[in-house]
Symmetry: C2
């Protein structure tokens, strides 16, 4: 029910994903959702009478509306009815609802958001934390690093994990990064050191770890510059660049460190981005990503 | 003498700038510099026998090489012989040499680097601090804001100054930004609040203030994404995008808060970027930018 183009685009995307084999349960106002389903399409609906607004104060909204679509969907995950939940709504409220309903994984003090960016070499750069926390402690960065490494490993890759910094020499970084660097030895050969964002974006690593304030600045700077450059171009070339740098179509962010699979899609997602986000969440549920996270934190 | 393509490209750029009316003094090894000047070109040279390497530890290098081109140029500013100095060399060493030779302006605890980025609306976004400091205190951000506002004012604009943040609502920002926000009232109507990077890049403000670690991440993310998108394109379109997003050609960064005009050009600057950087420094010297900075800090 949440998102800039909800529920119409969300439902349309869910239909696309279901067509591709994703097992989808819609959560929200039954009458409104039913009215958006074409006559020949049937998707199960879990009724939730309330909706958290995009601008509501997260914790307040979650407490005030226990039967909001967000809380009802989160409880469907907590009870085991669903393998994961995807929301395009108020991301702060998603985080609050997730921690409240699912709790944290053992060994995780603060859940973070992991989000993909396109890399110049055609790969993906996973940034964690993209904004779930500010004022992280060094040990929180170390926890993000373990979760990020587990994420790439579970997807079949050999993760190269870096600490985001203003240079790669010893002594670079701010106080937080300098204190986090020694904690990265637990990653063994998967830790590749401090790395600047342009090096990471060129393909220098798979996971870049940072405080959520910094990661949010990185993400929104990347979006802003990609949009600006696309704006300099015309016609088909502009469309091609927009498609290849559309962060919404990369699958949204994942809330990592909670005891359940929760995906935070872009609020501005249209149907195709919704479908892509659902497909990615579905793949992660099928490969038991949560089990990988749990193992990474106790290991 | 410093920079990835020095001294050949630096001298070539200096000749271009001199041709445009900039009064240039070359500082460095007289024999090498003389050999790079065409027979029909004459530029004054101030001899300096030593060179600070690009990878040398800044403070150590500055102390070890009192007669490096960097130190000699800085003393030429301190003595009043030159209105300003421009370096394409080791930026950390430039900062150390500047503070050592010129000192700080009254009211400035930590000099910062102010650097321009292209905005989607055709204007420039000036980011301060771009990396001179990490672990800034909130009052340092307030000082950067006053200097940044003075910079845009002296160039004839009505500055809109924002604090870089992960959202624009009350309560956004990390602890540093939240503590800095109340200090911004000294700017009066020039302060426009917290602002996200994509909003600033779209034209939402003229000066965005942040800690140097964060500003450096912003700058290098912008460069990385612009390079990546240009890499997706071909031929003339790619060249056009590269030209319009070439951060070296925007004139480099200015070290603000020291008692002298010091410009930190991009190390990878070619002749045209060197010439542009020299022209911008020259314009700022002619408009007595340093006097504007001094007034802003005592006012």
């Amino acid at each position: 029910m949440g998102g800039d183009h909800a529920p119409a685009e969300t439902v349309a995307g869910a239909i696309m994903a279901a067509h591709d084999g994703v097992s989808v349960l819609l959560v929200g106002d039954r009458a409104r959702l039913t009215s958006m389903l074409p006559a020949d399409v049937s998707l199960p609906i879990l009724h939730a009478p309330d909706v958290v607004g995009m601008d509501e104060a997260p914790v307040h909204a979650i407490r005030r509306l226990p039967n909001s679509s967000m809380n009802v969907a989160m409880r469907a995950v907590a009870s085991g009815r669903c393998g994961g939940m995807v929301s395009f709504g108020n991301s702060g409220a998603v985080m609050a609802a997730a921690v409240f309903a699912l709790g944290r994984l053992p060994g995780v003090e603060r859940p973070g958001i992991l989000a993909p960016l396109p890399r110049a070499d055609g790969g993906r750069l996973f940034v964690v934390d993209c904004g779930a926390n500010v004022d992280s402690k060094p040990r929180h960065l170390a926890q993000f690093a373990r979760l990020g490494a587990a994420y790439v490993s579970a997807r079949g890759g050999a993760p190269r994990v870096a600490l985001l910094a203003n240079g790669d020499e010893d002594g670079k970084g701010d106080a937080r990064v300098r204190a986090a660097a020694p904690l990265m030895v637990a990653l063994g050969g998967r830790y590749v050191g401090l790395m600047e964002p342009h090096v990471a974006l060129a393909g220098g690593c798979d996971v870049v770890v940072c405080d959520g304030f910094v990661g949010n600045i990185l993400l929104k700077t990347a979006e802003g510059v990609a949009a600006m450059v696309a704006g300099m171009l015309e016609g088909a070339v502009a469309e091609s660049v927009r498609a290849r740098t559309d962060y919404a179509r990369l699958g949204g962010g994942m809330l990592i460190g909670v005891d359940g699979m929760v995906t935070v899609g872009h609020g501005r997602s249209r149907a195709d981005a919704v479908a892509m986000t659902l497909r990615m969440a579905w793949e992660d549920v099928k490969r038991d990503m949560l089990g990988s996270f749990r193992t990474a934190m106790v290991g």
